[in-house]
């Protein structure tokens, strides 16, 4: 069933996960995930709710300490040399955890200075990002009062600000309106064209099918399939493959008759 991981020539992987394991109390949330994300790829991590996508990505970026396994980002071990690995990463965490009592511009300035960038560069890039993402460089609304789509966009801006070579995005399209989603897609595509690597989690097939060069399918903490989109999909639609791999059920019609 498993398609072997793709090795793209002699380029080193942008991210490589080796045997990541995580328990919560007695529950096994992630069970030995190994994954190579080739540099320059647009990688989609698919899976139903509770599959372990967020847990895996959290371990990959240094937010959650794995019980076993290794995460290597652009040649640096995230857990052995966190400072070097984190400096090369841009992350949009789950549920967009941000310091939301700051305004958008303040938040970007905070992130930039935290990354050790000089103030002039921070100002210039922050203004540009706020303009492109239609958040308004003069907006004085606190991020906590932003709409869901605006929160995703400001989170994305925070992840992009220091010009990382790898972006790790957890559910970047969840609860985003179609207009904002199109904008985010366009920015990400441009980023990959420019040589960056993106890995993001989602459970929306259309988005993944449209954007990604590679996909991985997770369920119950296990990586079920991974590889280039064409290999995983074969001659079927991605959705068919997904439902079959994950083993979902389809309502027969006899239940819920009262609906």
């Amino acid at each position: 069933m498993t398609v072997p991981a793709q090795r793209t020539g002699d380029q080193p992987a942008a991210m490589s996960l080796r045997g990541l394991v995580k328990h919560f109390d007695t529950k096994l949330a992630v069970c030995g995930v190994s994954l190579e994300v080739p540099a320059g790829s647009f990688y989609g991590l698919l899976g139903p709710n509770g599959a372990g996508k967020t847990t895996t990505l959290s371990m990959a970026v240094g937010l959650l300490r794995p019980d076993a396994g290794q995460a290597i980002v652009l040649g640096r071990d995230v857990w052995a040399d966190p400072a070097a690995a984190k400096a090369r990463l841009g992350v949009l965490p789950d549920g967009v955890r941000l310091f939301d009592r700051l305004t958008g511009p303040e938040l970007l300035a905070y992130q930039g200075l935290l990354r050790g960038m000089d103030a002039a560069t921070v100002d210039q890039r922050a203004r540009e990002l706020l303009e492109v993402l239609e958040l308004g460089a003069g907006n004085r609304t606190l991020v906590v009062d932003y709409s869901a789509g605006m929160k995703k966009k400001i989170g994305l801006a925070c992840a992009l600000l220091h010009g990382p070579r790898l972006l790790v995005l957890d559910e970047p399209f969840e609860a985003v309106d179609p207009v904002s989603a199109a904008l985010i897609r366009e920015i990400l595509q441009r980023y990959v064209t420019g040589g960056g690597t993106v890995i993001f989690s989602s459970h929306v097939m259309e988005v993944v099918e449209r954007l990604c060069s590679h996909v991985a399918i997770m369920s119950d903490g296990v990586l079920r399939m991974h590889g280039s989109l064409d290999k995983v999909r074969g001659d079927r639609s991605l959705e068919e493959v997904f439902v079959q791999v994950v083993g979902g059920r389809i309502a027969t019609g006899s239940e819920l008759a009262w609906l």
Binding site: G62, G95, R97, A109, L114, R115, L142
Partner: protein, 532 residues
């Protein structure tokens, strides 16, 4: 489905007990905390019972006439102040969760009220005040005991109603910009109420002026706070007619408080008020200039400090902590100073209280702390910036406290020495609090009330505060001894000595905290993020 069946308060009580039990399941640390809370509550109950039973055992009616109303009033006031200042409120039943259910306000108030009664503090209070029944039984026989029992049983709902209605009202008021200042003033007035109580206590203790105390006790016995606990004495003294009058006073007060709670509760259920800040664009300053405050370096450290300073004011929980501290910090030493006693010990208390606001500093942010973990902020920058952000607010306040207390006491020469003690206590408090804030961080519930603590967290918070106070006093003992023996010389060297002492304590404590944080960043994040 338009008919809503009458819902009793019982399901709320069961829901609370169930939530408490589920919160403990499979979490040994929580169970230990809970058991400590049980022990603590049990100890208070036994100690309270013993204290209130003493006048009966001695057969001293006069002592009973003072202890019961005043002790009872102290308990009611304790229910008023302790949640605001220290313990927080157990909001395992968050009112906002009931907003979508077809329940009438009456039902919700009754339910939440009943659920609050089913808790350790309420049980402990009931057991402690039962000592009063013991006393009246010995002094006035069965009739008096029955009357006192009725009083004690009515007094408990009063305690709970006082605590819930006042915290809810302040939570509502502190949320909106407009009423925030008013709330601060009200809180100040409440704290000022502590003053007369202290005068009574000191008058009793120092001048042995028992007649004044007895007169005050008689008056307090007719107010809602003292009435429930003095009815048994009235029967014993042959004033049985007073019993129904006093019970009506208590019930009316409880009813009034519950009605008030109902109105603020409704606002709490609607959730936080939306941003009133104008969304319009203004002549845009550069983002970095907008974040940083004047005088801060344009570096990582500057950014961290600027964020902390903004958060102390913009985040409701932090703002509530800051306001309650400023109020308590100014009023407690001042009311002590007004009685002419040295404010020394109180100053240590205030200094430690200031540092206490950082005890769960990472819990305030919850999962937003992930942003700092992802950027890999080193522990040193994190800890020092947080302490700096807090000190920006606290140090000026400490100066104000020392000056006001010195002037009120009529001894301006003592001001520098007392400021030295205050700063030393603050520094020692920080030295103890900072490592704890990394090691014992816990997630705060995501509710609209800034006073809410997680289930069972009240006891934990109380114990932590107790331990920290004790620790601060112990750590500052050498300095106090020096201050005592040096006498007048302390007036001159007090301030530099205090600052030096604070700096040393801070450096040691923050060093430990930095090491801890560098090793435990992801674990800390997991501890403060509310999910899982």
């Amino acid at each position: 489905m338009a008919v809503t069946p009458a819902v009793s308060a019982w399901p709320f009580v069961r829901l609370k007990l169930r939530l408490t039990a589920n919160g403990l399941r499979g979490r040994p640390a929580r169970i230990v905390l809970f058991l400590t809370g049980v022990l603590f509550a049990g100890f208070l109950a036994v100690a309270g019972y013993a204290t209130f039973a003493v006048p009966g055992v001695l057969g001293n009616e006069r002592a009973a006439g003072m202890l019961l109303p005043l002790g009872g009033a102290a308990i009611v006031l304790g229910w008023l102040f302790l949640p605001l200042l220290f313990f927080g409120v157990d909001e395992s039943l968050d009112p906002a969760r009931f907003a979508l259910l077809p329940l009438r306000r009456r039902t919700i108030v009754a339910g939440l009220f009943a659920a609050s009664l089913a808790g350790l503090p309420a049980l402990s209070t009931l057991a402690a005040t039962a000592g009063m029944v013991d006393t009246t039984a010995r002094l006035g026989g069965t009739g008096a005991a029955l009357a006192e029992l009725a009083g004690v049983v009515c007094g408990l709902p009063l305690c709970v109603a006082v605590s819930r209605s006042v915290t809810s009202a302040f939570a509502t008021a502190l949320r909106s910009r407009r009423s925030r200042d008013l709330a601060a003033i009200l809180l100040a007035l409440l704290a000022a109420l502590l003053g007369p109580l202290q005068v009574v206590a000191l008058a009793g203790a120092e001048r042995a002026d028992w007649n004044t105390v007895a007169a005050i006790a008689d008056v307090v016995g007719w107010t809602p706070v003292g009435a429930p606990y003095s009815v048994g004495l009235d029967v014993a003294a042959g004033r049985a007619w007073a019993v129904p009058v006093k019970l009506v006073i208590v019930l009316a007060a409880t009813g009034g408080l519950l009605t008030w709670w109902g109105t603020t509760l409704e606002r709490a259920m609607l959730g936080a008020a939306g941003g009133t800040r104008p969304a319009g664009a203004t002549a845009a300053a550069d983002p970095v200039d907008r974040l940083l405050l004047p005088g801060l370096p344009r570096t990582r450290f500057g950014a961290l400090v600027a964020r902390e300073i903004r958060y102390w004011w913009r985040e409701t929980r932090r703002r509530a902590a800051l306001i309650t501290f400023s109020v308590a910090g100014v009023f407690v030493p001042v009311s002590v100073a007004a009685t002419g006693v040295s404010a020394g010990p109180m100053l240590l208390f205030v200094g430690a209280l200031a540092a206490l606001a950082l005890a769960n500093q990472f819990g305030y942010e919850g999962s937003a702390y992930a942003a700092n973990v992802v950027t890999g902020v080193p522990g040193r920058a994190e800890i020092h910036s947080r302490a700096t952000g807090h000190a920006v607010y606290v140090l000026p306040l400490l100066v104000v406290i020392a000056v006001v207390a010195g002037l009120v006491a009529g001894a301006p020469a003592r001001i520098p020495g007392e400021l030295g003690l205050l700063i030393a206590a603050y520094g020692a408090g920080l030295g103890l609090v900072l490592p704890l804030s990394v090691r014992t961080a816990y997630a705060l519930p995501e509710t609209t009330s800034p006073f809410a603590v997680p289930t069972g967290g009240g006891a934990a918070k109380g114990l932590l505060i107790f331990a920290l106070m004790l620790g601060t006093v112990l750590v500052t003992v050498p300095l106090q001894l020096v201050a005592y023996f040096l006498g007048p010389v302390w007036l001159w060297i007090g301030l530099p000595a205090g600052i030096g002492y604070a700096a040393a304590a801070y450096l040691i404590g923050s060093g430990v905290a930095v090491d801890l944080l560098d090793r435990r960043m992801p674990e800390l994040l997991a501890a403060v993020a509310p999910h899982r």
